[in-house]
Amino acid sequence: MDFTLNDEQRMFAETAQTLFADTCTPDHWRKQMETGEARDDARWQAIVETGFTLLLLPEAVGGLGLTELDFALIAEQAGYVALPEPLVESAGVAAPMLASLAPDHEALSDPSATIAIQHPSNPFVLDADLAAAILLHKDGEAYLATPDQVTLTREQSIDPFRRLFRVDWDPAKATALGKVDWDLALDRAALFCAAQGLGLAQRAVDMAVSYAQERQQFGKAIGTYQAVKHHLASAQVAIEFARPVVVAAAADIGNCDVQARARVSHAKLVALEAAEKAARASIQVHGAMGYSWEVDVHLFLKRALALTQNWGTPNFHRSRIATRMFTQPTGPDQTFARETENA
């Protein structure tokens, strides 16, 4: 029993943190919003060079063969900067799925290519237009197509960096890949949504703390007011009790049993609740500044809202936890129990 990250994992997280801190600043956000550019090419290049897109791929297809826990640490940092690019969905969800189905597919050979995924739990597909390939679902089977083989209709998200597409397609014009574990894709995506939620939440708190230290009203910094302190302290409590759930879910996900699925669902629920709570507190602490486009805290609220409802609604995830509660033993000796041992 050891609930600590190893040195390599800590280094990964620090690398991601530094890379994003340098390449995804408020100036980058604003420039990208103004120009409407889908990607910051320099940032994406840096991400690719650091190997993040290969992290979860098996070594046999040229990947790093690392684990969901390692990737979750990257996803948390991506949340901390509200990363515009679909790193998480492509490298965390779609590429590993494609690798499991068609390890030799050419879309996996270019580490800078992205793969989009249409999943039964989501109505739209992120960044489908720029993907080298789109994974599609029909009757439980997976198909693959390029963007020019399908019809894409852009849908506008409240999140300026979520580029959503409705995908209409004809199975006859796509490549059938056969049966696939859509649940595993959902679990991975939900886990990484949760990890991003931690980052979103912490950033929202950190922004509010900085503002409250500086902003003066009634002759003192607003951070001295108990109401401000308590808003942010409550948000931090939510983060502190979401993080270990996310970490445990990341460590457990490979078990693919009812407990692992429940823990992933728990992680997604509480991490995104923490993100919404923190973003709301942050907007309130920022006052009218928080309500203006100029102060970027709105990006964190919007991303949290979107991730909350995608990759399984709160109701879906709550029902998976209920299944674990009511079909498996519960109690203090069951925290780390497995389905095969207790069913």
Partner: protein, 385 residues
Amino acid sequence: MDLTYTPEQQAFRAEVRAWLDVHVPSEPLEHFDATREGFEAHREWEKTLKSGDWGMVTWPKEYGGRGVDLIQWLIFEEEYYRAGAPGRVNQNGIFLLGPTLMEFGTHEQKVRFLPKMASGEEIWAQAWSEPMAGSDLAGVRSTAVLDGDEYVLNGHKIWSSRAVFADWAFGLFRAPGSERHQGMSLIFFPLDAPGVTVNAIKKINGHVGFAEIFLEDVRVPAFNRLGDEGQGWHICMATAGFERGLMLRSPARYQVAASKLADLWEQHKDAADPALEAEVVRAFMNAEAYALNIYQTASRLMAGAKIGPEASTNKIFWSELDIHLMETALAILGPKAELTQEAPDAYPYDWIDDYIFALAGPIYAGSNEIQRNIIAERMLGLPRK
């Protein structure tokens, strides 16, 4: 205690409804903060309202109003929201500056400003906040210096609603060297005066919602000062009372929203979390409670009572019910909640946009933290320090 409408009140409702049936535009107008066209379309609507004598229903007739009582006002608002009529671009005039002018203005000021406010000819922006004076309005730093019979205004106002396209603004300015609540005067200035620069500020939904105003040696006649020199804080507090109180947020707005939420629930309930029904019911209850509270307040005011610090409870209640209502809608919509629509004027069918709008509720017109302080100190009697 009689919770039925009189025949006169019923007739009044019928009259409002009949007029609105004919006059409310069939297509929603573009938002008044979005473009000059949208703003001018709303100005036209104000003129249409005025033509039917529905512009300033609560104002006395002598100032261009209809002189209705508060119950009639509530009925008017109910019908107005029910009809999906356009938002009021002239809100700052109707509910804030108008009443303040009637209370503190000279006869000449009333004659000069009120009729054009009532007709929509002049649309007003408020200019309360400054970069260092948000919740703490006594931190205002903009100055007014009397030079002959003119004031010279300098400073920087922010979070001014309507200021991008409006004609006039009102704000607090202080005598140089004065501090805190002393030495401030409430002064009107035209937004096209030399030395005035207005920059739009985008709200977090990406739409223009406020402006910042820079004033550089802007000259206005001393006539434009409301009340005595140095009386600005006192007048401002009275205005803030109007803002927090009965007038700003009509219960009808939330009752319409609660009905639409109920419709949304009926459309989506087969696919949504069944536990959300309790939230839909709660939204209805909140809207009803707010309406009943306002009817109670209206009855008391008509019986001679004055509005007091309990107005702060209104601010908290409507701002929180609004967020709860919109959150519930987003939860019902699930993964499609994040989709935006073209910015509409009619209220409400763009749930995500209304959610974003609702988030401003606990912030503006005195943050809810300030309101809770007021309730604790002035209503409950807890010590200030």
